[in-house]
Subunit: 164 residues, 2 copies
């Protein structure tokens, strides 16, 4: 049995007690959360989010690339969100390698050099500020007055705001 089969058994239990069938498409709290994909960071538990509350966008590092700018533009323009919350975290995998090393390793294994930047970073706070700056500079995201960045501490469970 694959892990996915195990998760599907959980999904059957979720559906069996499901009572959220009338929620509207636009997020009730009008907020988009952009966080790292890290397994230890659970935005639902951490922020008390419930079904229907918020858009949740995630990737390796919680960084802002073209695809996050696309998702944020759709979130605000078509579905009415107004605030953006960025979450990086301590002990992040993105702190453990460099773009050059990772791409060189893939190049040597596959014979092809990746056509993307790995978006590794060496300083958490600096990368949160970089992400905020990329969002504020984007011409297609209309509401950038409330964009706040945080670092989640995986050892303590605390969420700390990054000073701008």
């Amino acid at each position: 049995m694959s892990v996915i089969d195990e998760l599907l058994a959980n999904a059957e239990r979720y559906a069996a007690t499901f009572d959220k069938g009338t929620l509207p498409l636009p997020p009730a709290k009008r907020v988009a959360v952009l966080a790292c994909m890290d397994a230890r960071l659970n935005p639902y538990g951490l922020l008390g989010l419930r079904e229907g509350d918020a858009h949740v966008i995630r990737n390796a590092g919680g960084v802002v690339t073209a695809d996050e700018r696309r998702s944020l533009a759709i979130s605000q323009r078509l579905l009415g969100t107004r605030e953006i919350m960025l979450i990086h975290h301590t002990d992040c995998g993105m702190l453990t390698f460099t773009d050059d090393d990772f791409k060189r390793q893939i190049h040597s294994e596959t014979g092809i050099k990746p056509d993307w930047s790995a978006e590794a970073f060496a300083d958490l706070e600096e990368d949160v500020r970089q992400s905020i700056a990329r969002i504020k500079a984007d011409p297609f995201i209309p509401h950038t007055d409330i964009v706040r960045g945080f670092i989640y501490d995986v050892a303590t469970g605390k969420l700390n705001e990054v000073p701008v």
Copy 2:
């Protein structure tokens, strides 16, 4: 008080009872979930995921672009995941517009034409299969033997597998 302040109050409660401080960086279940950012889709509740279990990658539509291929490559190559689970859902915002219309609207409002594809789609099952195909065709994601796609029904809470 902004919505983010409200979520921060929840985060303080989370930290006050936090007992997960020793989880390892690699996901315990060795699976990466790629899902739509939709507010009604809660992967933790649905799949029974707990802190430490899985990478969760999300964007508008749950589509596969360069940034998701980057995240999946990092997830498998650096953090040991082996299975990939894709989740689209019914009543998705991506079914309500076309790339051309959305980009034309942004172009007329901002004077600039977006440099990304909005990745809108007209058929859920077809887009899930498209996402699987993009992953299997990627030269940098090493483990693509277990890539399964699902559609979450926001009205019933059920998760249905897309036949390949």
